[in-house]
Each structure stands twice: as C-alpha cells, then as structure tokens.
C-alpha cells in the first residue's frame, strides 16, 4: 500500500492541477495576509480611539462599548465588516449599533478572502480535480485491473488513493497558511501571540476534515461511474450545489419559511404604537388637566414624564422584538444552509476563530450584563433612570393661560466626580468553549465523512474493473 501511496503522490505532484493549486494557494494566502494586516490595523486604530474617547468622556447619558478587534478573522471573517464595531448604551439597557467604519455600499458583495473561503471554494474544487480520475481513470487505461490482480485489496487501494489526495492537498494548504501567517507576523507582530497557535492548528485539522468529504465524494463517484469526463461533470454539479447553491439559497428560503413579520410589517406597527402608547397617555394627562386634577406645572410634568417613560419602554420592546425576529430569521437561514458541508465548515471555522454571529451574541450578552451595572451607577449618581428610544416627543399644555412645554424626558448628565465610573470588560472565551460551540457543525462534518466513506467503499467493492 505504501508503494501505491508514493506512486499516487508522485503522480499528483507532477500534475497540472497541483502546480496551479500551489501558485493559487500562495497568491491567495499572501493576499489574505496583506488584507488582514491592513484591516486589523484600521480596526485597532478605531478601537483605541473609541476606548480612549469613552475613558475621557464618561457619561451618565450614554456610553459606548467597543468590541475588541479579533486578529483571527484572517481564518474566518464571519461577516465582520457588517457587524457593528460596538454599541452605544443608554440607560435602561438601550443598545444601538455603532456605525461601522468606511464601507462602500455601492460595491458588489464579495466574500472576504479568509482561510475559510480559500479552503471551502478553491481547495475543495482541487480535491475533486485530483480525485475524479482516481478509479475511473485507471479503469479507462486498464491499470485498475492490473493493480487489483496483485494481492492488494480493493479497500486498501481506496485508502491509498484517499491518503495520497489528502497529503497532496496538504502541501499547498500548509505552505499557503505559513505564507499568510509569516506576512501577518512580520507586518503586525503584536497581532498573533502564542495563544492563537492551538486555534490555527485546529483550523488546519478542520480543513483536512472538510476536504476529506470531497476526497471521499470524488472516489465514490469515480468508482461508480466508468467515464472520467462524466465523473467530473457529476462532481462539479455537486460542488456547485454544496458550495454555491445551498448556502446562498437558504437566505431567501428562510424568509419564506419563517413566520416572523417582515421589516415592513414591523415598521407599520410603529405608528399605532406611538399613538396608543405615547399620545393616548399624554391625552389622558391633558384630560386630567382639563378636569382640574392636575394644576401645578410640577405635577403635570411628573405625570407626562411617567407617560413618556412607559410609552418609550413599549417602543423599545417593539424594536427588541423586531431585532430578535431578524436574528431568528438569520439563524433559520444558517440552519437551512447546514445541509451543505461547506456551510458546516464555514460555521465551525467561525467558532474556532471566535468570529461571526456567535461572537456578536456573546458581546451583546456582555453589554447587557454591563448595562445593569451602568444603570446602578446612574441611579447612585443621578438618582433617576430615564429611558429613551429612537424617538423623542414634544407637546404643550396650557394651564391657567400659561403654556407648559411637555417633552419626553432626557437622561441627566452627572456633573460630579466620575472616577468610579464602571469599566466595561468583554469576556474572551477559551478554546474549549469555542470547540463546544462548533460541536454541531463538527458532528455534521463527521456524518458527511462517514456516509461518503461508506459509499466510496461500497462503490469500489461493486466496481467492475474491466
């Protein structure tokens, strides 16, 4: 079997696919390193500016919480350019996304050039190009019969072919990865520390685990179908389905399948909520004024402030419901796309790199935990918590010929010593937590490997070698 592995590796190394894969791998991973360095520098600059700004302007009206830039987005970006760099936090837990850095909305959407993209698109295709002739090619030229006339068993042949494909793909993968890491370590030495090495190692293992699916798939179809050109056509069709169709169609499909209200329906409800929750309450206060129940400006303001506060709470809740609905829809899309091993690999990579929606969810949890500390601080210093929404309101009441301006209350700035202002600290999960998060995706990848391995062995046993 060793001889076959060596022969196969030698053949692959001399092939055109391998040479082009090496060139593409070095080119793409170099670009990945360069782009990551530029992006990380910019994100770090914005982060430092933001954090310094918060330290200098500690406020009881509103504060900003910044997400620490993650250098491991070079492995799996996880849509970082669409994630907010942090949140602005107001009293009563009002979180608003901070605007992202300069981003060209006129540009066509292209996926980030991270390791996950290079592996899931380019390497998976090249594994198929290396595997498609594995059995059918040998059958076409008659060498399969000769090989199997020796004492070599069919499953040994399959294993040898499989190992040679994986080892051949491993060379450009590891070479490319090293190039990328070298560029990052030289241009931005502070970005990568020793603590990220296990994550990078696991990412490489994950890549092999993913590529193994395509190797088994290639060998399965190659054993099942006699003609190499038909094998390649079938494999490319499956590749298109796995890599492009399933992950992308799930975005629109989730819209159709999920029962959450659309953004328009949510927006439509804002008007009636304002009417019922704000203006109806203010009208009631006005009625009480007209009935003579409230006579002083202070009493009127106290009542209107309470009305505005309660109304604002309802509006905040409405937006929270919408936000959660959008998240459910995005999760539904991600779950649907999990049918494809490519999506499973993408999500597992994001977990290992600690990027993507999970990182954002964790940050949001941290921000919510901090918001109660922040509220307590405001209560202690100002003595009163005033919640706001995206809206502010104003109206007027005339009492005894005097016009009283009633507007929604604003949080108050504490003018005294703020040296004990609570500091926000973002939690950083350890690798075990991230691996646990990736468990479902890893299980999915294992299942794909198992199914396709069984099918490949079954196909080669049934294969007519003549």
């Amino acid at each position: 079997m060793n001889a076959i592995i060596k022969r196969e590796i030698l053949e692959h190394l001399q092939s055109l696919q391998f040479i082009i894969l090496i060139i593409l791998s070095i080119l793409l991973f170099s670009m990945n390193g360069w782009v990551s360095v530029k992006k990380h520098r910019e994100q770090m600059r914005r982060y430092s500016d933001g954090v310094t700004g918060v330290a200098q302007n500690q406020s009881t009206v509103e504060t900003s919480l910044y997400m620490r830039p993650n250098p491991l987005v070079l492995l799996a970006d996880g849509g970082s350019k669409y994630q907010p760099p942090g949140y602005s936090l107001g009293p009563k837990g009002k979180l608003t996304s901070l605007p992202a850095g300069p981003k060209n909305f006129k540009m066509p959407f292209v996926p980030e050039l991270d390791w996950a993209f290079i592996i899931k698109v380019v390497f998976s295709l090249y594994v198929l190009l290396l595997a498609f002739r594995g059995i059918s090619g040998e059958k076409e030229i008659g060498t399969l019969r000769l090989v199997l006339s020796n004492t070599l068993r069919r499953n040994q042949l399959l294993i040898a072919k499989y190992i040679s494909i994986i080892l051949t793909t491993g060379i450009p993968l590891i070479l490319g990865g090293l190039v990328s890491l070298c560029i990052v370590s030289i241009l931005l030495p502070q970005a990568l520390s020793l603590s990220v090495v296990p994550r990078i190692g696991l990412m490489v293992i994950l890549a092999f685990f993913y590529l193994s699916i395509f190797a088994f798939l290639g060998l399965f179809v190659s054993s099942l179908v006699g003609r190499s050109s038909v094998v390649l056509l079938i494999l490319l069709s499956v590749w298109i389905l796995f890599v492009v169709v399933v992950p992308n169609v799930s975005g629109i499909l989730s819209d159709k399948l999920s029962s959450v209200p659309s953004e328009f329906q949510t927006a439509r409800q804002v008007g009636p909520i304002l009417k019922e929750q704000i203006w109806a309450r203010i009208d009631k206060v006005k009625e009480r004024v007209n009935r003579g129940e409230l006579t002083t400006e202070e009493a009127i303001k106290r009542e209107t402030d309470r009305a505005y506060e309660e109304g604002q709470e309802e509006i905040r809740n409405h937006y929270v419901v919408y936000e959660n609905a959008m998240k459910r829809r995005a999760n539904a899309a991600r779950n649907l796309s999990r049918l494809s091993p490519t999506a499973l690999f993408q999500f597992a990579s994001e977990s290992l790199a600690d990027s993507g929606p999970r990182r954002e969810e964790r940050f949001e949890r941290d921000a919510k935990a901090y918001s109660s500390i922040y509220d307590n601080y405001i209560l202690e210093k100002v003595g009163r918590l005033v919640g706001t929404s995206y809206w502010s309101f104003g109206s007027g009441i005339t009492v005894n010929g005097k016009y009283i301006n009633i507007s929604s209350p604003h949080p108050q700035e504490y003018e005294g010593d703020k040296s004990d202002f609570p500091r926000f600290a973002e939690s950083s999960p350890n690798l075990a937590v991230n691996v646990q998060e990736a468990f479902l995706d890893l299980a999915g990848l294992s299942l794909w490997n198992l199914i396709l391995a069984v099918l490949a062995f079954w196909a080669i046993w049934r294969c007519d070698v003549r």
Partner: protein, 444 residues
Amino acid sequence: MLKAIVQREILEYLKSSKFLIGLCLTVVLVVISTFINIGDYQQRQQDFLDAKEGLKKQRISVKIVREPQILSTLVQGRDRELGSLIDISYLYLPIQTSGYIGEYASQHHRYVCGFASVDFAFVVRVVLSLMVIFLAYNSISEERTQGTLKLALANPLPRGQLLFGKLLGGLFVVLGSLTIATLIAVFVMVLHPAISLDRELSLRILAMWGVSALYLGTFFTLSLMVSTIFNRPSVALLVLLQIWIVVIVIYPNLSVILSQHLMGLPGSEELEDRQRALFESYEQEYDKAWEAFSKMVDLGQRDQEIGRKWFEVCSQRTELFHRIDSEYSQQLTRQRHLAENMGLLSPSVLYNSVMQRLAGTDIREFDDFMEGVERLWHKYLELWALLYKDREAYQKSKHPEFAYTTQSAADCIVQTLPQWILLFLLSAAFFVVAHAVFMRKNVG
C-alpha cells in the same frame, strides 16, 4: 460540406451524457430560482405598495419608497440588498436608503448580506459556462487522439471550414440550451399572477438572451482554442477548469478586494470635520437661530419670522452637508469603477454588469433614484419655504411628485455597448488564435 460537419457536431453533442446532465441541472436551477425569486419580488412589491399607500399624507418629513424591479426575478443584482426607504426633510438629506424601519433601527443590510443570490444570471454565468466547457474541451483534441481528425482532413476539406463547422455546431447546441433556459424562466414568470411582461420588459429579456449568448460564445471559443492548443483532451479540460475558477470565482473577487484596499475612503470623523469646516462661517447664525427657535418652542409661541430663519439656516446646513456627502458618494462610485475596470478582463464581470444594467438592478439605477430624491428635496424646499412666507398658499399647494429617470431598454444597451464589444472581441480573439493554431497543427 460545412453543413454536414455542423449536423454531425450537433448530433454528437445532443447524444452526449454531459449535455443531458448540464441541461437538466440548468433547467432545474432556473425553475427553482425563478420561482423563489418571484415569491420574493411579490412580497417586496406588496410591501412597496402598502408603504406607498401609507405615505400619502406626509408634508414636513417626506418618506420615499423604492420600487423593486420586476426583472430582479431573473437578475437579483443589488435590488434586494439596497434599502427600500429614504426619509428627507429640511433637516436631513441622506445619500443612502435604509430598510423600512428606518436608518438607525434597521438591520436590513446586516442580515441579508451574507447570502448571495441564485438567479437566471447565476445559472448562465456558472452552470451553463461549465457545460459549454464540457461540450467543447475535446472538440479538436479528442478527434486528434482518436485519429478521426486525420481522416476528416484527408477529404478536400479546408481546415478553417472544419473549425468553423465545429464552432457553428457547438454554438447551435449552446444557444439552444440557453434558449430553453430563457423560455422556461419567461414561462414561469408569465404564468405567475404577480408578473406582467410588457414590450419594454420583453425587449430587455431579449437583450439578456443576447448578452448571455455572447458570454457563452466566449467560453465556447475559449474551449475551442484550448482544445486546439493541447493534444490531450484531459489536459485541455483541466486547463479550462483552472481558467474557469480564476475567471468566475477568484478574479472578480480579487478585483473588488484590491480596489477597496488601493483606494481608501475617508472615515465618518473626517467627513464630519469637513462638514464642520464648510459650515463654520454660518455657525454663529445657526446658533442664534437655534436659541431663538428653542425659546419659542419652550414658550409655546408661534413666530413666523423665527420659524423662517430657523428653516433657512437648517436647509442651508443640510445642503452644505449634503455637498460633502455627495462628494463621498462620488468617491464610492470611483472605487466601484476601479473594481469594475480591474475586472474588465473577466467575461464574468462584463456579463454581470450588462445583465444588472438590463434588469435595472445595478447601482446605476440606484444612483438615478437618488438623483430623483435630490430633485424632490429641492422642490419640497420651495414648498416648505412657502410655509413661512404664505401659509395659505402652502396649504393650497400640491405635493411635488417623486419621479426619476428610468432608462429604456435601448438606452441600457447603448450604455453597455463597450461591454458587449469587449465580450465579442474576446470571442473573436479566441477564435482567431484557435484558427491560427489549428492551421499549423500536426494532425497525425
């Protein structure tokens, strides 16, 4: 003789399993994607109509909704991901649309951004181009390997004619498949009650068919060229697949990523600084007007002169700020142009830009919409000014109607002519090289 070659080629292609598999995959994907996209369009159109209905009574803060494009069912382009609503008043004039829930609360862009579209254009760009490669990769090399090329040329048949016959036969099959895919997509659209196709839309679909034919023709001539250059069909196929992955997957993405990093954009802080600097000379006047206006509101008074002053200074501020925003928007356009120009060598980039233009789902359509918004803002400015000059005239005045120039199919074709010509030149160049190589080829 040419007729016989063409007939033989067509028959060979039609009998091959690769043609059948490719055609089946194409048909299935076109039906599913068109069906899903029509459902999506129907929902967006319903939202648009409902939103428009609800916006009739607006006067001070004006909301404008963007209508989804019918042909987004075939070419999604940017139609879905760009927002649907824009809010303008004398206090603000944005350069970007948002989702229906408004600029700050909307998560519209974030949650849909990760998923690309699968539509008719995608099927042609990716699946049919692959099928074309599979059909043509062995058209010369395999005949040479099997020895039939030698036999065919032993007849009084000029080499050029043989190559031309192969081109015509192949194109007939490719264009036939494209026509089937197009007709199926149109059939699904026509049968759906949400879609009605008029003459203009039909013309656009016809132009889409034309540019798709040109795009697939480019891949066919490329495959023919590679097949004449390499003697072994397997090598020709591998070379073509490498070209395909570079041209379709890698190169278009790299051109966008490179342009983003080569041409930097100013940050929000820099833009705010520029706006502040431009408005500096009016700052005192603005502060004074604000002081007077807020005092008036606090006292519940209504002073026409204070209101007018406040309106004037605010609209001036909005106009000046918008000038900076417009410059920024132009920078965004320049960055996009750089990406497009860098990607010009890829037929995929050329094809995409023409298809999106024809479907009205490209950024040009959005820019036209935004120009319309700006024009409307100026009209409304006159109306709002009337509120402080002549209240009665203001109340009697009619709402300015929102309109923007939509280009006709003919205009779109004229605008995209350079891309059509480039695609044609690429096809011609590939065929000329194939011809030159084939004339000198050793057929033995």
